[in-house]
Point group: C2
Chain length 189, copies 2
């Protein structure tokens, strides 16, 4: 007689694969070296489009069948045409997406079944900075706030702890709060 | 006899509107106060979706006819299903989009006609951080590089200067290099 153990996928997370990934990286740490990429092409005015496709990780190159394409633009009030969100709005999406993916994985690892995760992110910015009208005003967001709503089979305290743990392990939260080095190269020959 | 002056739109930028915006904000600086927003909903596993729609700015609320919708996910090698890019990849798109929109506006203001602006962005990340396997490794990108290709009716030096000026006035570059404060609130009641 054979007993088949069904895969454990709380919250849609394959925890068997998750723990196997952790074991594989523990055994071979250079599998954790990743490089992500985007290419961007200017269309007209403030409208441009990025393609996100291949990346390097786990010791190999990966493609994604043509990748994903995203327009960015300014709204008419900022002399654009609303062909896509503004670049700074994509930062808000990235933050919500990273914290959410992380907390769902952490919930799965803790055997917490979630029934709802939603969030609203706001970013405040004084455009006197980028318009060059006040040197005391920074170019970027003066602050970002994110408000989560969570429901699941754990106490409110345990649900709050999922967000806190995700924050501690979030790549986007780290970059947006601490910054990172950016190198710029220009070929105009 | 009436002479009609055609609008000046180098690079697709309405410079008349651009300079009018600057004048309006100079006269009434609180028009520069903006708030951008995104809402995010978890779907399953690491897959979630954001909607980017309304924002506040120039003294009023704006909507964008249902807004823009973006999926984020992890790839299969990171226990996701590739329903969208990873959250960190959206940071690369945001950077390229912001620097590009800025330099095109600056070129228009300087009467430089551009024929090409394209860029490739890469972000290096060691996942030992977010996997919790090495406390010495940060969660986010160790570094980001962006390489531009520009062509237009200006000298290579002038084209390079467009990128440099855009960098100095880029909201996304500022946040990604210097960080910003993030407040997190959780409603799990």
């Amino acid at each position: 007689m054979t007993t088949t153990i069904p895969p454990s996928t709380p919250n849609g997370v394959d925890t068997t694969a998750l723990f196997a990934t952790l074991d594989a990286v523990k055994a071979q740490p250079d599998l954790a070296t990743f490089q992500f990429r985007a290419t961007n092409t200017w269309i007209s005015g403030t409208h441009n489009v990025s393609t996100i496709d291949g990346y390097y990780g786990a010791g190999q190159e990966f493609g994604r069948a043509g990748g994903f394409r995203f327009d960015a633009d300014h709204p008419p009030v900022l002399t654009g045409s609303d062909h896509g969100p503004t670049p700074v709005e994509f930062l808000l999406h990235a933050l919500a997406a990273c914290l959410t993916a992380g907390l769902v994985n952490i919930a799965a690892a803790r055997n917490v079944t979630l029934t709802e995760v939603s969030s609203t992110v706001t970013g405040d910015i004084d455009l006197l900075g980028i318009l060059g009208l006040d040197p005391e005003v920074r170019d970027g967001y003066s602050g970002i706030s994110i408000s989560f709503r969570l429901a699941g089979d754990a106490s409110p305290e345990e649900l709050v702890q999922l967000v806190e743990r995700s924050r501690q392990r979030s790549a986007v939260y780290d970059v947006l709060t601490n910054g990172t080095a950016i190198q710029i190269e220009v070929n105009a020959g």
